[in-house]
Subunit: 96 residues, 2 copies
């Protein structure tokens, strides 16, 4: 599965800043950061269920939001990048 | 076409803040803001070419970045939203 994750975390409080770091850390464990709060994830359905659980535990549902786009295979390599520092393309899971 | 646009604009300068507003305004003219710097665009190929030109003119390619994901039809309505204020779903062009 190719999943695009975008998030907005309310960092107006120290707790929000901690949540932001936690969300980023979870996403980094599963995929590639392509912009500040945008990650490209290539994983299995089971990985996604685990990841989703961790993300739900990490955010404050009243103040933060995460959007999840399940894309067709090849969507990442077809993505266009305008401007500064495009990431290295990847199509394989990055789970260590 | 369903296009997902995400952007990072360097707002460490007043000029950057102006670029951010311009990029957001262009995206708002063509689609639906679903997070601070994430827009869902439903448009024709011609609209996209015009929009892309305007976006390229608006950003500083050395400091800002825009990612463009061309999605399969239905990707927006299948998107999952975790947490705060999901947007109204839309599948039709929002060009006024």
């Amino acid at each position: 599965m190719e999943i695009l994750i975008t998030y907005d975390v309310d960092t107006t409080t120290p707790a929000g800043t901690r949540r932001l770091r936690r969300v980023a850390k979870i996403c980094e464990a599963y995929g590639l950061r392509v912009q500040k709060s945008v990650f490209e994830i290539v994983c299995t359905q089971v990985d996604w269920m685990l990841m989703q659980r961790r993300l739900l535990d990490a955010i404050d549902a009243d103040h933060d939001s995460i959007r999840v786009y399940k894309l067709h295979t090849g969507a990442f390599s077809n993505a266009e990048h305008l401007g500064h520092s495009p990431p290295a393309p990847h199509d394989t899971p990055l789970i260590f």
